[in-house]
């Protein structure tokens, strides 16, 4: 299925938390829209993240068996949201779906997807340490790539690099 059909099907089964489809568009001079290229997304409510993934995995027409990627993004330092991006892949139907959820920076928290896809486990640990997102219900929320005592969330745009680490100057 292409993205349009997937989106229509998600609407038809009334997938929980589905907000909108975000598709690439051409630039428009009148609205001063710079346009967007690339690939389409669906945007969902963070609160129903897990329910949405369950529908994606178990619906016979979608069957997204693989959670290929789960990551986060900080679009700008002055943006008030963090994004959580999930790439799903169906081996049976050979299609992909990109899912996006906006989390406010003030309380960046989202249910953990580990109950649906265990592949999410390490990705969520990485997002947690890099962006400071709390994945509620994660079985093992330790740092994975960074040391356990690391301060701050390095991938955020407003992150300031530390001047020293354990007495070693980094300048």
């Amino acid at each position: 299925m292409d993205f349009k059909a997937i989106y229509d099907h998600l609407r038809a089964v009334d997938a929980p938390g589905l907000i909108e489809a975000d598709e690439p568009r051409l630039p428009d001079k009148e609205t001063k829209d710079k346009g967007r290229s690339g690939m389409p997304f669906v945007r969902i409510e963070p609160a129903s993240f897990v329910d949405f993934l369950l529908v994606c995995r178990d619906d016979p027409k979608l069957t997204f068996e693989l959670l290929v990627d789960l990551t986060a993004s900080d679009p700008a330092a002055d943006d008030e949201n963090l994004w959580v991006l999930v790439q799903l892949l169906s081996v049976k139907h050979k299609h992909r779906l990109a899912v996006k959820a906006y989390l406010p920076k003030s309380s960046a928290s989202i249910p953990s997807a580990t109950a649906v896809y265990r592949a999410a486990q390490w990705h969520e640990r990485e997002c947690g340490e890099m962006y400071g997102i709390t994945f509620v219900g994660h079985p093992d929320p330790r740092n994975i790539l960074l040391p356990d005592d690391w301060v701050g969330y390095p991938m955020r745009k407003d992150y300031e690099f530390p001047k020293e680490y354990h007495g070693v100057s980094c300048e």
């Binding site: 690439p24 630039p27 710079k34 346009g35 967007r36 290229s37 690339g38 690939m39 997304f41 897990v50 329910d51 369950l54 068996e65 693989l66 959670l67 290929v68 990627d69 990551t71 993004s73 900080d74 679009p75 700008a76 991006l85 790439q87 892949l89 081996v91 050979k94 992909r96 990109a98 249910p111 580990t114 109950a115 649906v116 896809y117 265990r118 592949a119 999410a120 486990q121 390490w122 990705h123 890099m130 509620v136 219900g137 079985p139 740092n143 994975i144 790539l145 960074l146 040391p147 390095p154 991938m155 745009k157």
Partner: protein
């Protein structure tokens, strides 16, 4: 919250023989209590293929729990991607999966090109990209083949594998001047035209390699001791493979017929597939259980010969022409977001690029297959012997540069 459909299994299972006390000690029926031995496999250990650490809990030779610890090679590649220009990031892509740098270049270039709708990639460039990517897949699988032999204890196949890999590296050196970190496949095509006679040399390599391949297969893959060591070890069932999001040879080793080159085609792989140039080797459970270490190894070794077929097809249809599309010196990428996953030797290498129209990326995410494939260790290792755990780590074929990025 919804109910959990799948219960989270702790990696350390209580033993059947005795009661496990809360302190972790094990009580036996007779009057002795012993506790498990915790061993650090790594960060400096020959079997971890780099600086990775696996914390093993062992009861004698029996491994009762395993916990991988990563991050020793973390260099912040994604953060760097947000601070350098689009083309400047290309050399960094070489560094995560340093055994398949061409494929990394390709993945990144395709991800950026997906944001540049007007950009035309010349056909010759596409074919040279395919040749390079497939040659690099062979080189990478040769390492997987050789080091797996080392893990199991056979030294000599490693050197044979390196001899052929050396040849591939010499070919790459001729085309781009580098032997490991190529930065050859660029946004918009490839860096330069192949030197005269290069394609002939590649063909010669294919001829020789096809003969040698059979010998290697007989020497290692069908060796009785090797089969004894790898069959029925580290069995990944198809359900488990889906659950852990495995891709590449790890997925195909479990018998799941899925290859991004055929099923989510990029570049000219559809054409090659339709011409019937290659097949997708799958794990068959021929020597033991479906999805065991031998199956994964077998898939990798057989993929080499399929790559040779792809290279041969490309050599047959390649024609003179330009090799680089119309890209400016300083690339400005139109705003947008794209995720492109390609079939790396180790699985799906995903690049998520997000541009706001400027000279640098807003987000440059790398989805490394090794990182994801490694997560399965925690479940595979308990209940095996110490030597098996080495075989299992080897069969995941990780590159630590990629798990840690």
């Amino acid at each position: 919250m919804v109910e959990q459909t799948q219960e989270y299994k702790p990696s350390i299972q209580p033993s059947e023989e005795g009661r496990v006390l809360p302190s972790g000690e094990r009580e036996f029926f007779f009057d002795v209590s012993t506790s498990d031995l915790e061993v650090n496999m790594g960060p400096q250990h020959p079997a971890t293929h780099g600086v990775m650490r696996v914390l093993l809990r062992t009861d004698g030779e029996l491994v009762t729990g395993a916990q991988p610890h990563l991050g020793y090679l973390h260099r912040g590649a994604e953060k760097i991607g947000e601070n350098v220009e689009w083309l400047q990031y290309l050399p960094y892509t070489d560094r995560y999966d340093y055994l398949a740098a061409m494929n990394n270049n390709l993945g990144y270039s395709l991800a950026v090109e997906a944001l540049m709708p007007g950009l035309e990639i010349p056909r010759r460039a596409t074919l040279i990209r395919t040749i390079c990517a497939e040659l690099n897949r062979i080189a990478s699988h040769l390492i997987a083949f050789g080091t797996y032999g080392l893990d199991i204890g056979a030294f000599t196949p490693f050197f044979y594998a390196f001899r052929e890999r050396e040849w591939i590296q010499a070919l790459f050196e001729k085309i781009c001047g580098a032997r490991l970190t190529y930065s050859y496949i660029r946004i918009g095509g490839v860096f330069n035209e192949a030197p005269p006679g290069w394609l002939k040399e590649v063909e010669h390599f294919c001829d020789v390699f096809e003969e040698k391949w059979k010998e290697y297969y007989d020497l290692l893959a069908l060796n009785h001791i090797f089969v004894m060591r790898t069959k029925d070890i580290g069995v990944i069932t198809p359900e488990m493979a889906y659950d852990f999001g495995l891709t590449g040879p790890m997925l195909r080793g479990s018998g799941i017929d899925f290859d991004l080159r055929r099923d989510m085609p990029y570049m000219d792989y559809t054409e090659i597939w339709e011409a019937g140039a290659y097949q997708i080797p799958l794990g068959s459970g021929e020597k033991g259980t479906l999805g065991d270490c031998w199956d994964r190894f077998d898939v990798r070794v057989k993929e080499m010969i399929e790559s040779i077929k792809i290279v041969r097809y490309c050599l047959g249809v390649i024609e003179p022409g330009p090799v680089l599309g119309d890209v400016p010196k300083v690339i400005k990428v139109p705003p947008g977001e794209a995720y492109v996953g390609i079939e790396n030797p180790r699985g799906e290498l995903g690049h998520y690029s997000h541009s706001d129209g400027g000279k640098v990326a807003v987000r440059c995410r790398v989805r490394g297959p090794s990182f994801v494939n490694l997560a399965v260790l925690e479940d595979l290792m308990p209940g095996t012997l110490l030597a098996d755990s080495v075989a299992i780590i080897g069969s995941t074929d990780i590159v630590v540069g990629e798990t840690d990025r």
